[in-house]
């Protein structure tokens, strides 16, 4: 127990609230971009910490705890929140002060958690969030009375408006004895006790004159459309199709800007430096390699933007509701939809998002199929091969390239369904688990939250390009450049290098599915991060080209040297492409054993080889050789 004689210079504050209370938006408002995202020790629940300085100069370290409906957990997220509050979490000190974020437009659902926290004995302030929206929509309540009824300070906050957090900051500044009372011993309340607390909630709402207006007609109509038995699924399908078309078409301009920028830098460096090892390393290794990966940043950001918007508006849980039965037919929960959709961006956050699936076997099955969702790291490979081999012409209202891309995505989904079906009937058979999903009110997405979300993704992607990917590129450049070709040797120098030897050795394995040694070689660094395969091809082809390689772009080069059958086979390979290492590491951490990552690698490799073999042979038979 801590006792402070005077106001301390720093304070550890935790934000707690039910899901959809606007807790994370308030966190963003408080801390801006001064955030550190990591994991809680030993689990992959995301730990978001930020900081800010109060007007008095006091430092606040703010932790955004995972959303929880109750201190009696049904998910890993909720267990983390409870254990943190009780000071039971390894490596984490209990908070000195707790902000309970409640949605002012939904006190009936939110207030029970505030009572539970108050009764726990931790020092709290209640943040009446979205109070502007509540007023606009006609909600009324007596804040002073609520404060008296709860016996703790209650402040109004507006997470989405600048300055909307000032009252909360003032309340925190007024705290002189943070963490004065340690949490009481916690026992899961009895059935009767929960009912008692709920009656208390209703009594308080009555006492403070909480009036809830009828739901707006427009929102009712929107729900009637979105959740309509026929129009709902049709809308969802159209939406997903639109997203994938947009990823391709909107990104065209920024991508060509980036790629001409990279070529320009390459040409400048080429002119500036004298020929030799350093020039080759910079131009062929660093610029050609990293440049061919950075060019996909626009597509990745567009995809993430859509996912973030769908999440913020409240549409995603409705999609999970619509798809519950379909997912149920292969043994997954509708809740698996959100992790699987995130996996289209990247399997790593997708696998981390499975923590909201309460049943451990459902969760494992979802983790095992998540890598079959076409992640954005595969887009560079798809985009390269499609641009080189599939004509850009309209088919009805669509575009042939877009359609091919869509087919690749669908193939991944169908394969995921099939694998889940098999797993849930064998190794991961489980007993029944409920759905019980809140469908939150529709909201306009918050620009600040979107910007912070996209900024985080861009940082991660560029960070990867800057570190892992760049390092791999340099290693690859080295392997491709040494030993040098003997003087007067015919053919490009790379054939005589270590890389040439590795590629040729691998070619024996991959020749039956139509891969030449350049592709075989590019697959190796592609295991570390899939998008590296493109950079690797860039490096390999740039080095084997006669003359100045960078000036020629990769797509026409492979279009001239691969057969269509090889290209299709590579696409099929990448639908199932064995894991990138970061995914395997996350699976290892998430499942706490090597069993699942190893099983995953084996089954994906087998599927990829079989699919590519079949594609190659069929294409050859149809004359695409």
């Amino acid at each position: 127990m801590k006792e402070h004689g005077h106001a301390p210079e720093s304070m550890r504050v935790a934000l707690v609230g039910v899901p959809n209370s606007g807790k994370t938006a308030l966190f963003n408002r408080l801390t801006g971009s001064r955030q550190k995202v990591a994991n809680y020790a030993g689990v992959t629940v995301e730990r978001k910490e930020g900081s800010f300085t109060g007007p008095s100069g006091r430092q606040y370290r703010v932790l955004d705890l995972p959303g929880a409906y109750s201190l009696t957990p049904t998910t890993l997220d909720e267990a983390i929140t409870r254990d943190f509050l009780l000071g039971r979490l390894a490596g984490e000190a209990a908070p000195e002060f707790v902000v309970c974020v409640v949605d002012a437009t939904n006190l009936r659902l939110n207030l029970r958690l505030a009572l539970e926290l108050r009764d726990l004995g931790v020092p709290i302030v209640v943040a009446l969030n979205m109070s502007d929206l509540a007023r606009d929509r006609g909600f009324r309540l007596d804040r002073d009375r609520l404060e008296r009824e709860l016996g703790v300070p209650v402040v109004e906050t507006v997470a989405v408006a600048s300055g909307g957090h000032e009252r909360l900051v003032a309340a925190l500044e007024a705290v002189t004895h943070p963490g004065a009372a340690p949490p009481r011993e916690w026992r899961d309340p009895s059935f009767a006790h929960i009912q008692h607390t709920q009656r208390d909630v209703r009594r308080i709402l009555e006492a403070v004159g909480y009036t809830e207006p009828a739901r707006a007609r427009a929102l009712r109509r929107l729900d009637a459309l979105v959740m309509h038995p026929l129009a709902g699924p049709a809308f969802l399908a159209l939406l997903l199709f639109f997203v994938f078309q947009a990823v391709f078409s909107w990104a065209t301009l920024p991508m060509s800007l980036i790629s001409s920028g990279v070529s320009w830098v390459g040409a400048e460096v080429q002119d500036l430096l004298p020929g030799g090892m350093l020039r080759s390393l910079l131009v062929d290794g660093v610029i050609a390699g990293a440049g061919s990966v950075v060019v996909f940043l626009p597509q990745i950001l567009i995809l993430f933007l859509f996912i973030l918007v769908l999440e913020d508006t409240g549409y995603l849980p409705r999609a999970a509701y619509l798809l519950d039965r379909l997912m149920g037919s292969v043994g997954l929960s509708g809740r698996a939809f959100i992790p699987l959709l995130s996996s289209f961006a990247c399997a790593v956050p997708g696998i981390m998002a499975t923590r909201t699936i309460p049943n451990v076997r459902d969760r494992l099955a979802t983790i095992m199929v998540a890598p079959l969702m076409t992640c954005s790291a595969r887009l560079p490979v798809y985009a390269l091969v499609i641009a080189a081999f599939i004509p850009n012409r309209p088919v009805g209202p669509f575009n042939l390239q877009g359609l091919v891309l869509f087919t690749l995505y669908v193939t991944g989904i169908v394969a995921a369904m099939a694998v889940a079906w098999g797993l849930k009937r064998t190794a991961l058979r489980s007993s029944y688990h409920p759905l019980l999903l809140e469908l939150p009110e529709y909201r306009w997405p918050n620009v600040q939250s979107l910007a912070i979300g996209l900024w985080e993704r861009a940082k991660v992607f560029v960070g990867r390009v800057g570190t892992i990917i760049l390092a791999l590129m340099i290693v690859l450049w080295f392997l491709s450049s040494y030993p040098a070709a003997p003087p007067g040797a015919p053919g490009p120098a790379i054939q005589y290098s270590y890389a040439g030897a590795i590629g040729r050795a691998l070619e024996h394995v991959f020749a039956p599915i139509g891969f030449n040694w350049q592709i075989s070689l590019a697959l190796v660094p592609g295991l570390a991060a899939r998008e590296v395969a493109v950079g690797a091809l860039g490096t390999v082809y740039s080095l084997s080209a006669t003359g100045d390689g960078v000036s020629a772009t990769l797509a026409p080069m492979i279009a001239g040297t691969w057969s269509l059958a090889t290209a299709l086979s590579l696409l099929a390979w990448y639908v199932f492409a064995p894991q990138c290492l970061s995914t395997l590491v996350v699976v290892r951490r998430e499942t706490n054993s090597w069993r699942y990552p190893l099983l995953m690698t084996a089954y994906l490799f087998a599927l990829a080889y079989a699919a590519a073999f079949l594609t190659y042979r069929v294409a050859l038979a149809l004359g695409a050789g």
Binding site: Y69, S70, T72, T74, T105, N106, R108, L109, R112, F191, I194, Q195, Q198, R199, R202, E212, R215, D223, A224, M227, H228, P229, L230, P317, R318, A320, Y321, L322, D324, R325, G334, S431, Y432, P434, L435, L436, L437, E438, L439, P440, E441
Partner: protein, 87 residues
């Protein structure tokens, strides 16, 4: 009228929650009625009005239930625990 299970009701039905049963057996809930507990925590408490606002086609399962100012998606199987007095 006697309360009947929410699981048996059709889209568009309105009623008042009469009781949430603690019958772990009938729910197939191994983990000691966590379903009923969570239903109570979410606000399915006696006296609250609710309405079935949507159901997925085909089969009418899961259903979307409007309760207070929130909508919840649940399967008919867990809806069995909620007894409703129909208006």
């Amino acid at each position: 009228m006697l309360p009947i299970s929410l699981a048996t009701l059709r889209k568009g039905t309105r009623g008042i929650v009469a009781e949430v049963t603690d019958d772990a057996q009938s729910l197939g809930d191994e983990s000691h009625s966590t379903i009923s507990r969570r239903l109570l925590e979410l606000g399915f408490v006696p006296g609250e009005p609710l309405e079935i606002v949507a159901a997925v086609w085909p089969g009418g399962d899961p259903i979307a239930v409007r309760l207070g100012n929130t909508t919840f998606a649940l399967r008919r199987r867990e809806a069995r625990a909620i007894l409703v007095t129909v208006d």
